[in-house]
Amino acid sequence: MIRPEEIKMSADESGKWGMVIDQDICTGCQACVAACAMENNISFVGEKDSGYGRSMHWIRIERFWEGEYPEVKMTPNQPMLCQQCGSATCEPVCPAFATVHSQAEQLNLQVYNRCVGTRYCANNCPYQVRSFNWRDYERPEPLSNQLNPDVTVRRRGVMEKCTFCIQRIHKAQDKAKSEGREVLDGEFTTACAQACPANAITFGRVDDPESLVSQLAKKRGHGIKHLEELGTLPNVTYFKGG
């Protein structure tokens, strides 16, 4: 047992893993969405459910319109994914401790096997990035051969969300450890960042000032964090550009 004063409060910290997303060069091509689905064994839900707000995308690309024809403009594509908040509103409301803060990785964890499906976390997520397994979505044979063995396959009644590809984090850490070194910046990245043809997504250590994400954030300077005013301490920085 340890004493409460030893518990780190992430409010005082900057988080560990973070992302920088450049909306100016995001073309909305959906490569990240597909990559995420393939990496993380995300179910597809079919036409009816996906049109009824039940699609399981862990990352979605939002776009709005400004102005009227012919002066109409598409707002910069905005990939929206779990912001891995430092002070996440989803966490305290789970009655079963199924969504908790990882103190080792400073991520929001969703522990599938502990989830009982009250969906309170999803209601309380200001970013609306959690998706719920409304059914046991069919994955006809032999599609299951594609499933990533590093990621749990979720069944009905379980909440899920972007994990910042924690399986890749662990794999990289394991590899680094086996080689007796620290994880290098850029040694691995999330599936979305890896696929992005425009390199609009950069992933890395935000607590390391030398990392590419920190450098990018510094270079671009005027990044925004969504709904920061709610005090959620999100770890994804957006650059609108333009």
């Binding site: 030893e6 599938y112 502990r114």
Partner: protein, 184 residues
């Protein structure tokens, strides 16, 4: 009728009968539970102790344990490499399934013994690298034929060891008991 039955059951003899019935139910349940703990039927009654006695290292057949998440079952080619040089292979009834499988090119269908649920991401490599011996979890293979689980692989088993290994190192403890270390 029912009243008479109840009255009879209140007799000492009836009480004994009730006791015996309850005992039977409990033993049946216990037997059922113990059945689930028996090592499953395997295609080959693989004698682990014989192989260990020959001085074959665990990692010779299960090399994945040192390299990655899964220890793995050896390929039949690996079995055959030794066994086709052993005369007993031709005669032994025990080895007939192996011979048949190799010759017919059909894989043997082993039944996994040591398993964690799918929502647990277990990595052998990290555990071997941390100095854990195989028998810490899988028991002493020099004493069993078909592999058995000496303990149930539940979260308590994992966590107890993790806590013990972390000791006073707080940072290590945080890492080792983090939900996200195993569940994602």
């Amino acid at each position: 009728m029912i009243k008479r039955l109840i009255d009879w059951l209140k007799q000492p003899l009836g009480l004994i009968a009730v006791g015996i019935a309850l005992l039977a139910v409990f033993s049946f349940a216990a037997y059922g539970i113990s059945l689930t703990q028996q090592p499953p039927e395997q295609p080959v009654q693989f004698p682990h102790q014989t192989h260990v006695a020959f001085g074959i290292q665990c990692l010779y057949c299960h090399p994945g344990a040192a390299k990655g998440p899964a220890a793995g079952i050896p390929s039949q080619a690996k079995c055959w490499a030794c066994h086709n040089q052993i005369a007993k292979t031709e005669t032994s009834l025990l080895l007939a399934p192996l011979k048949q499988a190799v010759l017919s090119g059909q894989p043997l269908e082993w039944v996994p013994v040591a398993q964690v649920p799918d929502f647990v991401q277990f990595n052998h490599r990290a555990h071997v690298a941390a100095g854990q011996n195989c028998e810490n979890c899988h028991g002493d293979m020099s004493k069993v034929t078909i592999a058995e689980n000496p303990q149930v692989f539940n979260m308590g088993f994992c966590l107890d060891c993790h806590k013990q290994v972390a000791g006073d190192d707080h940072e290590k403890l945080v890492k080792l008991v983090d939900c996200g270390t195993c569940h994602y």
